[in-house]
């Protein structure tokens, strides 16, 4: 199952100003893994995802999704941005935001209809947010907003999911709910890439991991490479995690 390469990144270098924030990144992510990207603040995790998704233009390197460029494979990819990247006081409802996940397949001008609404409601149900469907988004808690973003990506019904810190600021119950959804996606042979900060839970949640700090430190199966050595290389300080296994 893990022979197909879902995402391939070659020599990716990205800079906002002059100094590259990502330096010569090579990655091969097999299909069907649940992968964590770990690294300190400012390591370039969000930047890496944004470059793969074509939001940022890299100064060098290339990205391919199942062997083709991202532009050609858009429909296969869904994105959950960092929650703080939007203004939650925007005048709209939870359902409306989730419905935005269908805009890509609708294309220009065409409006969402009953079919799209049904998809959105199903996604809301999956993340346990159906009772809040008509809630103004500013009146949702942080964890609920995170679920809305997740539902919006689920609506896209993609093969590859990129999630930027989906566990940021959510309580234990929500975290379990979200991880269960992610595991279900993996079961359906989807590839899920998650920026993750809680190192303690990496072995429990993920089967693949990438260590990143401007450069790629390591990438591979959690059981092989999630060790103190790589953590120390990534975080710069002597790191000791007790891997509960």
């Amino acid at each position: 199952m893990k022979n197909n390469i879902a995402i391939k990144v070659d020599d990716l270098t990205v800079a906002y100003n002059y100094k590259p924030v990502l330096w010569d990144i090579d990655l091969e992510i097999p299909e069907g893994v649940l992968m964590a990207i770990v690294g300190p603040n400012g390591a370039g995790k969000s930047t890496l995802i944004k470059s793969i998704l074509g939001i940022l233009n890299p100064i060098a390197g290339s990205v391919s999704i199942y062997g083709k460029s991202y532009e050609k494979q858009r429909a296969l990819v869904a994105y959950v941005p960092q929650k703080g990247s939007v203004d939650w006081d925007f005048p709209t409802t939870a359902l409306d935001v989730v419905m935005m996940g269908t805009y890509g397949s609708l294309g220009w001008i065409k409006r969402p209809g009953q079919k799209e609404k049904k998809l959105a409601l199903e996604a809301l149900e999956k993340v346990g947010m159906l009772p809040f469907k008509n809630r103004q988004i500013s009146q949702l808690s942080g964890g609920q907003q995170q679920r809305i973003f997740l539902a919006r990506a689920l609506v896209q019904d993609a093969s590859i999911y990129f999630m930027d810190e989906p566990f940021q600021g959510v309580d234990a119950t929500t975290e379990i709910a979200i991880i269960n959804i992610l595991k279900e996606l993996r079961k359906a042979n989807k590839t899920v890439i998650v920026v993750h900060h809680d190192l303690q839970t990496v072995p429990e949640y993920f089967d693949w991991v990438t260590f990143l700090n401007v450069k790629k430190i390591a990438t591979g199966p959690v059981k092989d490479i999630f060790n103190d050595d790589n953590l120390t290389k990534t975080y710069g300080i002597n790191y000791k995690v007790s891997i509960q296994e």
Partner: protein, 375 residues
């Protein structure tokens, strides 16, 4: 002229009707587009565009030597667009903050425009007088063709809004995500910005460079207070804008021809003020009322739950207790006790109180809720 006379005149007097119609349409289109500027947190954009338009007017005059308002506005449009795209360029190329870029372009273009205006004023040309009307606007100079032009732009704007509604909405909310879905965000952005520039340029003759941005912001800011739906917000902003135009014109015409532009802006400001105070969900007044009511309820609930704890210890929940024992409790007042009686939660007999069944039920619900919330 008083206001009733004015109303009669609007329907009979050609000039007044033209001006009223013009300001109403202008208010509607700027209000509509202003919603987008406000939601993108680009409040300064309108100010920058209108100031950037000034040198265009001056240059158009210098080239043609004529005061034909359409040619001057074309000049304004060109320099407004140049200013706008320079702003975008500065933001994306230099990593200056957007307000820095806006401020920079605003003052640069405005300064240059003023320089040209003073230069023109020194020219021995009888035509020059009146160019300064673009600074503060002069609604009285509106003619039918101006109103036609405004209507056409408004119609086109409406059409584009309807067509690209979904694209505008998603771009405003989450631009990066929009890009990942395959939409050309630059195109959407340029489309909306171009219409904002157009609307502003159209308003220069009426409201003027200095006050134009208020036409963009005030109706939208007011509208945001009343709704949580983008569609309704845009509609309300257009309505507030149109009414600002109509009322402003009426007031200025009936009060000895006060300058129309500033009056329109003040009326729009009144809309904002009223909205900030009286909007049910976001307004200051209702917030205050809710706050006071919550505090009162809390007081009541505190007393009730205290009584509940006492009553709980007895088998008969309606067993009477002395009011005196409530004195140990700080939050209790005669007023709250009276209110509890009125709500039929508590019965008073002489110096004794007892909970009613209803009171007991309410209190126990309260208590459960509280413990739930604490978990």
């Amino acid at each position: 002229m008083d206001i009733t006379e004015y109303i009669k005149l609007v329907f009979t007097d050609y000039t007044l009707r033209t001006i009223t119609l013009g300001t109403a349409i202008l208010g509607a289109v700027t209000g509509m587009l202003g919603s987008f500027a406000v939601l993108r947190k680009q409040s300064l954009l309108g100010d920058a565009i209108s100031h950037a338009a000034l040198p265009g007017i001056a240059i158009a005059f210098l080239i043609t030597g004529a005061k034909d308002s359409n040619i001057l506005l074309l000049g304004a449009l060109v320099s407004g667009l140049i200013g706008t795209f320079w702003i975008r360029g500065i933001i994306s190329k230099t990593h200056l903050k957007s307000d820095t870029a806006l401020g920079l372009i605003l003052s640069l273009f405005f300064g240059f425009g003023m320089l040209l205006l003073t230069f023109i004023q020194k020219q021995p040309n009888a035509n020059q007088a009146g160019l300064d009307k673009y600074l503060f606007g002069q609604a009285a100079t509106l003619v039918e063709s101006d109103v036609w032009l405004m209507s056409i732009v408004t119609g086109a704007c409406l059409l584009v809004l309807l067509l690209f509604w979904k694209e505008f909405k998603i771009l405003l909310f989450d631009a990066d995500y929009t890009k990942t879905l395959g939409f050309n965000t630059k195109f959407i952005d340029i489309l909306i910005t171009t219409f904002i520039v157009l609307a502003i340029v159209l308003g220069l003759q009426t409201v003027g460079v200095v006050l134009m941005s208020a036409m963009l912001l005030a109706p939208a800011a007011a509208a945001r207070q009343w709704t949580n739906s983008l569609g309704i917000m845009v509609f309300l902003a257009a309505t507030f804008g149109a009414f600002s135009g109509v009322f402003g014109t009426a007031i200025s015409a009936s009060q000895n021809n006060l300058s129309t532009g500033p009056v329109i802006v003040i009326v729009a400001g009144v809309f904002v003020l009223i909205s900030f105070i009286f909007s049910p969900s976001r307004g200051l007044l209702f917030k205050q009322i809710r706050f006071i009511k919550n505090r009162r309820d809390l007081q009541l609930h505190k007393t009730l739950s205290f009584m509940y704890h006492i009553a709980e210890t007895h088998e008969n929940i309606s067993h009477p207790h002395a009011i005196k024992i409530l004195n140990n409790f700080q939050g209790f007042t005669k007023g709250t006790l009276q209110k509890l009686v009125r709500k039929n939660y508590v019965k008073l007999e002489g110096s004794m109180w007892s909970l009613t069944t209803e009171g007991f039920k309410t209190a126990s619900n309260l208590y459960n809720q509280q413990t739930e919330n604490n978990e």
